[in-house]
Subunit: 335 residues, 2 copies
């Protein structure tokens, strides 16, 4: 199929940019030192590309992601980097045939994991993100409880999510401080694994044993402004369905906020300036030195936040120039 024949709105992946991104991250974190986070792209087809590039361990945020990876034959070493209490979901993961490790941060989450038949855990430690994770000085106690309940404790995890967008001048120092508290917890917990990091800190976090990045694969405008060596690889491919000429003219695409994660703001339109998004439309004006497109033209929007954008779509179309060369189902949606 040709790019021009794709239905719109659709998410398209620039094959060259994706290959570049995978290779670039693979040089910094080769093999199993990278545990790609599937929450960013929610596709077992994309995950298989990463496994083929030497990264067979995966990180997930939901039980559905874990079960989908296991079902696709990608269950060598799956980490659910999130707390779960639901016995049905925990039980399904325990029985899915994959090696599944779950994050725990409290006596309640330890008890839930043990009751379900889950065999291995990481102790999740709060390193300043104001989210899940026990205080570093309680990690040893949670680990003791986990071992007493018969769980294997593989080590610790701590996500410095609050530092992904930290300015370069202070990022190294603040990541080091966050990882020092994770190291303190690791000393009390034991085990081989120290898991953490993300696309925004992959270059400065030298303390984890495995890097949990995912957004680097496809990128978005939020990570794009950090000046990382990754290229924008995903775009919302839209048709211009209405154009208003005149001195204050505008154009409207058939892709809007139901095709885009909006928590980081509006998308960028290549060849225009976005005025606003509504459910199924993006309204934009011409750039200062440019012209409005015509009805029927195609335009590319660049998402501001990758993860919630992909979660709206059924598939990713992989594009090489003007040809669609592959289709990756977004098969890890929902919970």
């Amino acid at each position: 199929m040709r790019l021009a024949d794709l239905p719109t709105p659709s998410l398209i992946v620039d094959s060259d940019a994706f290959v570049h991104n995978v290779a670039t991250m693979g040089r910094a974190w080769p093999g199993r030192s990278l545990r790609p986070h599937v929450k960013a792209f929610k596709s077992t087809a994309l995950a298989k590309e990463l496994a083929a590039a030497g990264h067979p361990s995966f990180c997930a945020a939901t039980p559905r992601e874990v079960l989908g990876l296991a079902g696709a034959g990608l269950g060598e070493d799956l980490l659910l980097a999130n707390e779960v209490l639901d016995q049905v979901k925990l039980g399904a993961m325990a029985k899915c045939g994959a090696r599944v490790t779950i994050a725990v941060d409290s006596m309640a989450t330890v008890a839930a994991a043990a009751a379900s038949g889950i065999r291995e855990v990481l102790i999740d430690v709060d390193v300043g993100c104001l989210r899940c994770g026990c205080p570093p000085d309680q990690a040893g106690r949670v680990a003791d409880r986990a071992r007493a309940a018969g769980l294997g404790v593989r080590g610790v995890m701590g996500y410095e999510g609050h530092l992904m967008m930290e300015p370069d001048t202070t990022k190294s120092e603040r990541v080091e401080a966050a990882m020092a508290s994770l190291a303190q917890a690791h000393e009390a917990v034991g085990g081989e694994v120290v898991s953490g990091g993300g696309t925004g800190t992959y270059a400065v976090n030298r303390w984890v044993t495995e890097m949990q990045a995912g957004s680097y694969t496809l990128m978005d405008t939020d990570y794009g402004r950090l000046g990382l060596p990754f290229r924008q690889a995903v775009f919302l491919w839209c048709t211009v369905i209405s154009v208003h000429r005149g001195s204050r003219g505008w154009a409207v695409t058939d892709g809007g906020l139901k095709a885009l994660g909006m928590d980081h703001g509006n998308p960028t339109v290549l060849g225009g300036v976005v005025l606003y998004c509504s459910d199924e439309h993006t309204t934009f004006i011409a750039p200062p030195d440019g012209l409005l497109p015509r009805v029927g033209d195609r335009v590319r929007l660049v998402p501001a936040h990758l993860d919630p954008t992909v979660a709206y779509h059924e598939r990713l179309y992989v594009v090489d120039g003007k040809d669609v060369v592959d289709t990756w189902d977004v098969d890890l949606r929902n919970w």
Copy 2:
């Protein structure tokens, strides 16, 4: 099933509030004078409740919504209130067995509709929303072209979306001005139908022959602050998975921004104050006079924007008190 046994995160619908909302809007816009907009809830099961309440005509924003309604036996009179150029999608709608009317606003969209076998159109008029719709003074020319191409022209539509949140003091006056330009277009176009309006203007728009509201069925915090007589009927049902005690404590739910439309900002949490949302978590603190919940407790989040929230979910669970009394599939997602 009991509410307490539902998997989380899930969207739940308060049955009493939904029934109240349907009855309240039905008194203002009875029978076919209301054309409920399915984009707000994307469910044929919910649409069937509205048809049973006397509203068998529907409004849609995507071809998928039209085809899904037709397939569910709800095709008596479907309006796609949006422009479409894609011949595959137009052709599918032309052949779906339903009465399908499509919005057109240009010679290109007229030509596309006529080529596909679509039989009826409305002329879409820009009434100030900065989106689709031709200028009012060109509506007659678009209608002439449509009739020349063999299309039946049923009338006009014009969505005053920019006035939904207009303050009460100026809303009537500004809606009247917008509808005056629609009436001017209608005079040039002819036909029986003047379609427009929404939940934010349903009480003041006296000029349309059919009201396109949809959000009133389930509501959100954005419409909630308008003081309309509709009750909040949809909630994101979440489990508290992590709690941090202490003077600056916080709690974390398993529902985050991938389960919520975020373009209108953060959700509200009943019994807490939201600090922030991330992909699969919402972090909140206790209210000034309240306590944090315990790990395993359930909480309700109120979405800030209904439409993109529902679009993330596979189903709506209808709840009466502590019982789940029905399940409505969200079967009109994607495009």
